[in-house]
């Protein structure tokens, strides 16, 4: 079996008396779109936080590209090649859309104190590359015309896309999207679908948390289902659709 890009083994997290994530193992293969679904409170976002270092896991290991990254702080996780978006948006509201994306370029840029203070040619060259790259990322999500608007003043749909563009700017190998379609209308959702495919086709692996089952079935190559912090199913979308445990836990609750 080929080595997974992201490999989570028996990871658990407890908040007070609540077992938010319970011995979950999960593999994401390079080049695929993997979806993480489950009812509210199933532990999906917590799992994201454990992967990206926002929380420390109580037990278990996380490996990325064969490297053990368990317990790495968020900035290290991004350096290794993972970028994420947030369910509750965390944009830099007082900066413009373009500046938000430029922050995303931090991972592969170098300028430090001395060059920065003197604005040497190194800085000017790097800034030019950053601006080009950032505009390109904005174009990839269709936000080029909003580049100079303040992030805080954009409508919700665009803010969500902006988080995707910002994450892409760090040139990740794996992109983690936390409910990018929540709050979008059908047309926007459809657009999003195509954009995520395009991102995958550009060589970025995607792990996505999503509620919208229709979207998940169309979008993903593999689906993992969480319920009460435990993984109850993992496989191709068609298999998942017919898994009785999944139907009772998730589809049975009447969520679309």
């Amino acid at each position: 079996m080929k080595q997974a890009l992201l490999s989570i083994n028996d990871v658990s997290k407890k908040f007070g008396g609540l077992q938010a994530v319970d011995e979950v193992s999960l593999q994401v293969q390079k080049g695929q779109i993997k979806a993480l679904v489950g009812p509210n409170g199933a532990g999906k976002t917590t799992l994201f936080n454990l992967i990206t270092g926002a929380h420390l896991s109580d037990q278990g290991t996380i490996a990325f590209s064969g490297k053990d990254i368990t317990g790495s702080p968020p900035h290290k996780v991004n350096e290794y090649g993972m970028a994420r978006t947030f369910q509750i948006l965390r944009l830099f509201n007082k900066l413009t859309a373009l500046e938000n994306v430029k922050v995303g370029c931090h991972r592969w840029t170098k300028v430090g104190l001395v060059h920065g203070c003197l604005r040497t040619s190194v800085v000017r060259r790097e800034e030019k590359i950053i601006t080009e790259k950032s505009m390109e990322c904005l174009e990839r999500v269709g936000l080029a015309d909003s580049a100079h608007k303040l992030a805080g003043n954009l409508p919700l749909g665009k803010r969500k896309l902006l988080e995707v563009a910002r994450a892409l700017a760090s040139d990740p190998e794996l992109l983690l999207l936390d409910e990018p379609a929540a709050g979008l209308n059908d047309k926007e959702t459809d657009e999003l679908l195509h954009r995520i495919w395009a991102i995958r086709d550009s060589g970025v692996t995607v792990l996505i948390i999503e509620h919208n089952m229709n979207l998940v079935m169309r979008l993903s190559d593999e689906v993992a289902v969480l319920n009460y912090g435990r993984k109850i199913a993992d496989g191709k979308p068609a298999e998942i659709q017919n898994n009785p445990e999944v139907i009772s836990a998730y589809l049975g609750t009447g969520v679309s």
Binding site: N49, A54, H55, F86, R90
Partner: protein
């Protein structure tokens, strides 16, 4: 041994004042999440107002209630004129708003009472009480008594009255309390009024022991904050417990180490405390994401 008890009594006395300031700060903080840098000025105003009342030959029994009413009105005005317009702003803006108010209050105090430190005679005569070799100024009993009464009344208010329980509910969860129909705005107003009142009362009883001048509030306000941090910010009672501990530590430090470094000790204690217990105090703010 006599020196020890002397130190303990002095510690409890100043601790009682810190406790009252801490209680006021904690009340405002828990209800409105504002750290009030003007808390010390409530104390200054209480003290200086009482000095004026006494100079009008008013008896204490009339003067103190008048001072308290004026202080409560001051707290209400503070909330209405400064806090409410800035309500939606960031932590930084709110903190600087209270800083601005403290500057204004200092300015007003300087205008009315001048720059010289003022004091009052003790409420019950200048002859101290002697227990063996330990000498206790009568005013000490007033200070400790006021703390006990305020603590008792607060307990009663927050546990036995509807208004008090409502305020506690706001302190615990603002959204939930709004959902069940509690008027958050009113709770914030009441917290400012009560806090100003408690501060002024502390100022009134402490004046015979120390001198009070227009700009003396900042330091005592900070001591109140140290008290609150020590006792735990998330509880209305934290300030009282922390205040007494702080008073005792200061007195012991002054008595056995060096009186010069009394203030220094308190602030080093604060930094150490903030450093050693960041998770306990912060509640893991960053990790909530």
């Amino acid at each position: 041994m006599d020196i020890f008890w002397q130190i303990i009594i002095s510690g409890i006395t100043s601790g009682s004042i810190y406790a009252l300031v801490g209680l006021g700060l904690g009340l405002i903080y828990n209800v409105s999440k504002v750290i009030n840098l003007a808390q010390g000025e409530f104390l200054t105003f209480g003290a200086l107002l009482l000095v004026s009342m006494i100079s009008f030959k008013l008896p204490l029994i009339i003067a103190i209630p008048i001072v308290l009413v004026i202080a409560a009105l001051l707290g209400l005005a503070f909330e209405r004129l400064a806090i409410r317009p800035a309500w939606q702003s960031s932590t930084t803006v709110l903190l600087i708003t209270t800083l601005a108010v403290s500057i204004i209050l200092k300015g007003i105090a300087m205008l009315i009472w001048g720059k010289d430190p003022l004091s009052l005679p003790s409420f019950s005569g200048e002859v101290p009480l002697k227990l063996g070799e330990v000498v206790i100024a009568t005013q000490t009993f007033w200070v400790i008594g006021v703390l006990l009464i305020v603590a008792g009344l607060s307990w009663f208010f927050f546990n036995r009255t509807l208004a008090g329980k409502a305020i506690l509910a706001v302190a615990e969860n603002r959204d939930a309390s709004a959902l069940v129909g509690i008027n958050n705005r009113l709770a914030v107003q009441v917290s400012f009024a009560l806090s100003a009142l408690v501060g002024a009362l502390a100022g009134a009883v402490v004046t015979p022991i120390t001198f009070v001048s227009y700009d003396g509030g900042t330091m005592i306000g900070l001591k109140g904050f140290i008290a609150l941090t020590l006792g735990g910010m998330e509880s209305i009672w934290g300030g009282i417990v922390g205040g007494l501990i702080l008073g005792l530590i200061e007195a012991l430090g002054a008595g056995y180490i060096s009186a010069q470094f009394k203030d220094l000790l308190a602030f080093i204690l604060l930094i150490m405390l903030l450093y050693l217990r960041p998770a306990g105090i912060l509640g893991g703010a960053l990790k909530k994401g």
